[in-house]
């Protein structure tokens, strides 16, 4: 048995447990997806539809209108958001959407958008807590994230024992998520893209994909072990540029086919409720839509809370409002544009669509209007994958640090394992990689969301308290 086969049986084993499904109306419904949807729905209602009431305040916060003079020069709301977004925006937005549509038809888009809107409330809850219960160390560094709010927050409410257990579980799952979805999936899809533009499976790199994996591991290793800041900086600067280029390109494709736009939107709505040829019908479309949206915007998983907690603010609620923009940007804007591009060009109707899967389907859709775009997309995929890997390496390292008390050897050990997983991701097939990535990442939502429910009163008090102080004028804008 070679490595790829061994990995496949491991993937199936893990996947069967995490994605335990019940059959509803002929479609199999993974309970973990229901878990995320209920959380999003609960916090949407419990926090009082902040998706509607909060965006304007969120935008003002990002623009620095509430930044106190002594906070100038430290991590701004914009920077915390941008760092979190660069960890989230990635293959989920390009490959994940294509997978959703190839499996669930155009209607999956509708459910993705709805999941994105619900996810805003979950994200608000977890990122507010991340700031509220972060550790500010004496050396001027900060650590935050679900591990800290599960432990400290639940201890405050007299559930210290449960909190500690959930925190440890979360940290273990986040290490798994960092290795799977945050790493192997990224390296797998980036490799597929590079192979695609360099002669396909029969080309030299197609026969030896591990070479790409090794190169990726070296580049990531230079950043995460070598501390080579220049590579990380260049990536952080190019990624936003590529994101804008990607959005502009998809708008061009949509405008080029503008006469087909009403039909495409119609297909998305009708497909949402009565899809044709989709396994499981409307429920089937709903499930893949929700699943891909959750994988893309990570709401409820708790990962982004780690990145958001670095912000400089005295009001934890502010970051809750700002974090709400993340699923909006990721899912409601970027995923929707990708979906429209795929639906409007009709490439998903290609009989091979579900085999093409992932990036290739998105790439074909762009190619119909912009023949040179696949090369640019390949570059974008590689960069998005790389920046997501850097973010997740950081998340995994923080989780390791939490488990082993910031032990230097343990953190270095994690980094080495991370790089090995990078190489592994480049050589195994797509399906087992998706299965393991999804499993590990979705597992994070178990301890995280239990914690969110138990801390719900704290969340509501902070969010509503801040909002009412803004509305009453007690909290004033620093600049207009």
């Amino acid at each position: 048995m070679n490595i790829a086969d061994g990995f496949e049986s491991f993937a199936n084993g893990v996947g069967n447990v995490v994605f335990y499904s019940v059959t509803v109306a002929g479609a199999s419904l993974p309970l973990i997806v229901v878990w995320l949807v209920i959380a999003g729905t609960f916090f949407t209602i419990y926090l009082g539809f902040m998706q509607v009431r909060g965006p304007r305040l969120a935008v003002d916060l990002v623009r620095g209108k509430y930044t106190q003079p002594d906070e100038v020069g430290e991590v701004s709301h914009f920077q915390a958001l941008a760092t979190a977004v660069s960890g989230t925006v990635g293959l989920g937005n390009i490959a994940g959407v294509a997978i959703a549509i190839s499996l669930g038809g155009p209607g999956a888009t509708f459910w993705m958008i709805l999941a994105g809107l619900l996810g805003m409330a979950t994200k608000m809850a977890e990122c507010m807590l991340g700031v509220k219960y972060r550790n500010e160390h004496s050396d001027g560094t900060v650590s935050g994230g679900p591990m800290y709010y599960l432990k400290k927050g639940l201890a405050e409410r007299g559930m210290g024992g449960l909190g500690s257990v959930l925190a440890v579980l979360f940290a273990i799952f986040m290490i798994g998520g960092a290795l799977g979805g945050g790493n192997m999936f990224q390296s797998n899809q980036a490799t597929a893209q590079i192979v695609d533009v360099t002669g396909g499976d029969d080309g030299f790199l197609g026969s030896n994909p591990w070479i790409i994996g090794v190169l990726f591991a070296i580049a990531a290793g230079l950043v995460i072990i070598g501390g080579v800041k220049s590579i990380a900086r260049v990536t952080e600067k190019i990624v936003p540029f590529m994101a804008v280029l990607y959005l502009v390109a998809s708008l061009i494709v949509i405008l080029w086919n503008v006469t087909a736009l009403p039909d495409a939107i119609g297909a998305i709505f009708s497909g949402a409720f009565s899809p044709e040829g989709v396994a499981g019908g409307a429920i089937g479309a709903l499930i893949v839509g929700f699943q891909r949206a959750a994988f893309s915007n990570e709401a409820g998983l708790g990962s982004a809370s780690v990145a958001h907690s670095a912000v400089k603010t005295k009001e934890p609620a502010t970051e809750g409002f700002v974090a709400m923009l993340e699923p909006f940007i990721d899912t409601v804007v970027i995923c929707t544009l990708t979906a429209l591009t795929i639906v409007i060009t009709g490439t998903y109707q290609n009989p091979d669509a579900s085999e093409l899967g992932g990036v290739a389907l998105t790439s074909d859709s762009f190619e119909t209007v912009l023949p040179w775009f696949p090369t640019v997309l390949a570059l974008a995929v590689v960069l998005f994958a790389f920046s997501t890997m850097i973010s997740w390496a950081y998340y995994g390292m923080k989780a390791t640090g939490y488990l082993f008390g910031d032990n230097f050897a343990a953190e270095q050990g994690f980094k080495v394992v991370f790089l090995i997983a990078t190489i592994l991701g480049s050589v195994v097939a797509l399906d087992p990689v998706i299965l393991v990535s999804d499993s590990m990442i979705f597992l994070m939502s178990l301890p995280n969301i239990i914690g969110l429910y138990l801390l719900a009163p704290v969340i509501r008090k902070e969010i509503h308290g801040y909002l009412s102080r803004v509305q009453s004028g007690e909290v004033q804008k620093v600049k207009v």
């Binding site: 020069g73 660069s86 001027g140 912000v311 850097i390």
Partner: protein, 143 residues
């Protein structure tokens, strides 16, 4: 006593600007406010690790600026026997200096013609030229 704001950095031109300001301050009974702005944008893109260490970095940057830039500049003002105050802050240098001048009710801004920005200044223009275009009070540019 009227206040003037002097923009300072790590360059010789900046030293000449302070000397010029102190010389005029003696004659006109001015108070000089020495300002060093550490270039910083809240809209830059950073890695998670940079964010984690940012608070510490800010303290380090501020201390370094005080020691290496403001202490020697303040000495010139001290020796000249004029009232002086030192400020280190983060932001876009031209805008921040202009805002600080307003805040302190300054009547005059004094800066060196070129700073220590090197290539960045060559490409994007100097702080001095921006101030000349934007400031709401008279600006003196010292060569």
């Amino acid at each position: 006593m009227e206040t003037v704001v002097v923009g300072v950095d790590n360059s010789d031109v900046s030293t000449r600007a302070v000397e010029f300001a102190v010389d005029r301050a003696q004659k006109n009974d001015w108070k000089v406010v020495l300002v060093h702005v550490i270039p910083w944008s809240p809209y830059s893109f950073q890695t998670p690790t940079e964010n984690e260490h940012r608070q510490r970095e800010k303290v380090n940057e501020t201390n370094a600026a005080k020691e290496q830039i403001l202490v020697p500049m303040a000495k010139i003002a001290e020796e000249g026997g004029v009232a002086h105050e030192e400020i280190v802050t983060h932001g876009k240098p031209s805008d921040t200096m202009s805002d600080l001048a307003t805040k302190h009710g300054a009547v005059h801004l004094i800066v060196g013609r070129t700073g220590d920005g090197g290539l960045r200044e060559a490409v994007f223009g100097s702080v001095a030229s921006r101030l000349v275009q934007q400031a709401k009070i008279p600006v003196t540019v010292v060569p």
